[in-house]
Symmetry: C2
């Protein structure tokens, strides 16, 4: 049997057909055109699904289920998307709308959980029953896999690890709290930290890299400066890795996943990020006389949404 | 069938026989005499177990299993107690030693997990599949119940929530990190906070309550002062409740248990603790458009160890 995975984003709708191991057979995408009503967007999802199945040379009765990953608060039990800040969806009946066009089971989950499932089935945590995936991007997304399944608490809202406070009364977070991990360890936070350091240290290589235009600073700039031996850049990178590490150690002490996969653009720094991060974590974890969590780079990249959504139906 | 639960503490060994609902039929205890070798202590555990079964008027073949809860790092898979800071146990083969005397399955878990299981089966979280129990005592203990079972990660070391950092670079913790929840929200931390406030505010009611002898301050003193309308006492209590709340919100955002039970002596403050705590939590949790975690006082008290240990075999 095959599985359809749909990555419903604010910019594009990506649909893929996968095998039972999450291997993509065929995929395609169309623009979301997010200002539209949900009924139109869901119709496009259904049409693209039928096209992908046809393009793959398969028939509908070879497909077991449709999984949909989206930002926001999906309610799989009732088949609705309660809320999404990227779309105009408010209590949108995604399952029943999809089933108007395609008579298959439809599963929903949020994008972070789906990414974690993708890593678990086909990526960095393949072959392990307990894993966590943390994505350092605009925010800090996270998903927990326990015994091969997404863990989402009694109300589908668990594993919002980006919104656990690591600095009580610290930096304001988009969620309304102060001092969340996301406010220190997201790419957004790293850019803010880099800009602040550059403003206070005009002689630093950070300023040279962006020709004095601090608005050009991105999540790579401090790492680039540090690699040039720049003191300010190195300090920003060290402090950032410490913030990432504080949250990673919290996740380990709380969940003890066998694999902890880290995704997002910052991971392109590779060992430059991971080596000091692992050193920090090794010293700080609570239980040292037991088997230790392995920290790895997430592998699924842009396919995580499709593959993880597809595997919701497995 | 009946179940034996053993609460192996640094001071006493308590043994109880329970029914399948965790109801205690008969219980007894003996001093641990912790300086002894593990073989002697385990022999006493076995003898007391046989006595309790006999005192209850039951026979060994009516007993399904023996569960043992202890501080430290039990390894249930291999039936050993890897380490306990209260006992001289190092890789002690608890299961095989017990089975020299009694031929029954033996299960091990740590005291915090066992307490959480007790609340789940017979206490504050009875009837709910997902719960968390946090004990504010000398440290901050915690156990997570998922789908009726103790969650302990891939290596039996999960749910050390007291050792998640809420103030990066904050107060030193016994675990070696700085800023752990335990260093702010334990009874020990509250006593430290109360002493500091009393020292800086000699006119406060705190000082009067202890007749100027700050060594007499306990976890109740600041609450008593606050109830007298004392400003310093009120400030300590408010700040302490905020620290407790920061961690509680972290637990909710991470795990979304249906019930979160709070145990330990501080809970005797009742609504004086819980009302402002709930107000703090309600405002700070990430997901507000879903069903919310209920915060309750733990109910099992001193029986938690026996009942939870007994239910390990259920």
């Amino acid at each position: 049997m095959y599985y359809i995975g749909i990555d419903l984003g604010g910019t594009n709708i990506a649909v893929g057909l996968t095998d039972k191991n999450g291997g993509i057979i065929c995929k395609d995408s169309v623009p979301t055109l997010r200002e539209r009503e949900y009924a139109e967007i869901i119709k496009d999802m259904a049409m693209l699904t039928l096209k992908v199945i046809k393009d793959a040379g398969k028939s509908l009765d070879e497909v077991k289920s449709i999984g949909i990953g989206s930002p926001g608060t999906p309610d799989n039990e009732n088949g609705i998307l309660i809320y999404s800040n990227n779309l105009r969806f408010r209590n949108a009946p995604v399952r029943s709308e999809m089933q108007k066009y395609i008579d298959l089971p439809v599963y929903l989950d949020n994008d972070a959980n789906v990414a974690a499932l993708a890593e678990s089935v086909a990526g960095a945590a393949k072959g392990f029953r307990h894993s966590a995936t943390v994505t350092l991007g605009t925010g800090v997304g996270s998903g927990i896999i326990i015994d091969g399944k997404v863990y989402s608490g009694f109300n589908n809202a668990a594993s919002e690890l980006g919104h656990t406070v690591i600095v009580s009364d610290g930096e304001p977070c988009t969620c309304g709290r102060k001092g969340c991990w996301e406010a220190y360890a997201s790419a957004t936070a790293l850019i803010r930290q880099t800009k602040e350091a550059a403003a206070h240290n005009p002689e630093s290589a950070i300023n040279k890299i962006v020709n004095g235009d601090l608005s050009k600073i991105d999540a790579k700039t401090s790492f680039d400066a540090a690699r040039q031996g720049d003191e300010t850049g190195s300090r920003v990178v060290s402090q950032y890795i410490k913030y990432v590490g504080e949250g990673i150690v919290n996740v380990i002490n709380a969940f003890q996943p066998e694999i902890l996969a880290i995704g997002g653009g910052v991971c392109k720094e590779g060992e430059y990020l991971l080596k000091p991060l692992r050193e920090f974590v090794d010293k700080a974890v609570y239980s040292r006389d037991v088997a230790q969590t392995q920290i790895r780079v997430a592998q699924m990249g842009n396919d995580a949404g499709i593959v993880g959504a597809a595997m919701l139906g497995k």
